[in-house]
């Protein structure tokens, strides 16, 4: 029985009552409590080896990890690395081209309805994880006067962790990266439309 949820898909994780992986929930809560006013939160990297150690600890037993001693930058980086290293990303690989093409729509309302359509098709754990992240990032952005992380910056730093193409070897252009970021910006700016 994979009771401890050591797998590397979102569904394999130990989940909270809201169907969000415990590791995601705990990292976010830590940043909510200690990091909303930290300059460069989610942009500043943690020390790589310590981030890896924390991630390993979470993977062994997410519930018993104590975050008290950890600086915000390391916890924030751990969350981003956990998401990036999943076998399948929060925005599922198989739907990556669909999302990117939806982002190409110039008309906002059409973009939003396309996103909504794809969000409805997301597996529940993926959707709930994304919801938790977007609502959290929005809260972080509200403190951008202090933390210097407005929505655009947060989207640039977070999009790479949430989106993965199916073909890793493909040389992605800057243009595709901008589309990824645009999706996150759209979700953040219209959070009430998607996550009411």
């Amino acid at each position: 029985m994979s009771f401890q949820g050591s797998g590397t898909t979102l569904n394999d994780q130990v989940l909270t009552g809201d169907n969000v992986p415990v590791i995601v929930d705990r990292c976010i809560t830590h940043v909510e409590v200690h990091g909303l006013k930290e300059k460069g939160v989610y942009r500043t990297a943690g020390q790589s080896s310590r981030v890896q150690a924390l991630l390993d600890e979470f993977r062994r037993d997410a519930l018993s990890v104590s975050l008290n001693e950890y600086p915000v930058a390391e916890v924030a980086d751990t969350l981003k690395r956990f998401l990036r290293e999943l076998d399948d990303s929060v925005f599922e690989r198989i739907n990556y081209p669909a999302w990117i093409s939806a982002a190409g729509c110039t008309e906002l309302s059409r973009r939003l309805y396309s996103y909504e359509y794809y969000l409805k098709k997301m597996p529940s754990v993926h959707f709930n994880t994304l919801k938790r992240i977007i609502l959290h990032l929005h809260q972080v952005a509200e403190h951008c006067g202090v933390n210097k992380m407005p929505i655009t910056n947060l989207a640039s730093c977070f999009a790479p962790s949430l989106m993965r193409t199916n073909k890793d070897k493909v040389h992605l252009t800057g243009e595709v990266y901008s589309q990824e970021i645009k999706i996150i910006i759209d979700l953040l700016e219209n959070k009430d439309f998607f996550f009411h």
């Binding site: 460069g40 942009r43 500043t44 990297a45 943690g46 020390q47 790589s48 080896s49 310590r50 930058a73 390391e74 981003k80 690395r81 990036r84 210097k148 655009t152 910056n153 640039s156 730093c157 790479p160 962790s161 890793d168 040389h171 992605l172 252009t173 800057g174 990266y177 901008s178 970021i181």
Partner: protein, 203 residues
């Protein structure tokens, strides 16, 4: 040869790639070097961006292609393709942020995997102004020097904000890039001579 003085100085082109953790000040450093101003806009770089700066030295005109990369880890796969054919690599950290210095080793691993041997590398500690204001340096100058030495890198502590040491660092790098290229050219010339001679002897 006649009219040697009238000849235009030879044009040199060098590709230099900037890497380092997110937020250490790569773009600000580049902006200070190219435009002599500090742009405190905090916008994170996406993917890769580049700028060109021309310098005139005693012997030649040097065009530096400066490739600014995003520090976010996922963009590293993209960064790697830009290491190819790089003549120089600058690895940057924030003097006030221990983790960004510790992570230099990881960046160097990526760099060493990708670049050709003989590529000029420089370690740059940025945000010297903040460190001096605070009166403490999280990363001591000595530690920077030692790390640079172990990788045979040039080393500078700079401030992209005030411009301190920015030009000095880049001039030193440019000088070394030229020296390396001169040496390479000489070697090629010597090789050609040897092969020509062998050809003459009919061996």
């Amino acid at each position: 040869m006649q009219g040697e003085e009238a000849l235009p100085k030879p044009q040199r082109i060098f590709k230099v790639v900037f890497v380092g953790d997110s937020g250490v000040g790569k773009s600000s450093f580049l902006h200070q070097f190219c435009n002599h101003e500090f742009r405190g806009n905090f916008a994170a770089t996406i993917g890769v961006d580049f700028q060109v700066k021309t310098l005139e030295t005693k012997t030649s005109v040097v065009t530096l292609q400066l490739w600014d990369t995003a520090g976010q880890e996922r963009y590293r796969s993209m960064t790697k393709t830009y290491f190819r054919k790089a003549d120089g690599v600058i690895v940057m950290y924030d003097i006030n942020l221990e983790a960004s210095f510790t992570n230099v080793r990881n960046w160097m691993t990526s760099v060493q995997e990708q670049v050709e041997p003989g590529t000029v590398t420089m370690l740059v500690g940025n945000k010297l102004d903040t460190a001096e204001e605070a009166g403490t340096k999280a990363v001591k100058t000595k530690n920077g020097q030692e790390l640079a030495k172990s990788y045979e890198m040039l080393f500078y502590e700079v401030s992209a904000k005030t411009g301190a040491n920015v030009d000095d660092a880049m001039e030193d790098l440019t000088r070394l890039l030229q020296e390396k290229e001169d040496k390479k050219m000489e070697e090629v010339l010597q090789l050609t001579e040897i092969t020509t001679k062998k050809g003459c002897c009919g061996r």
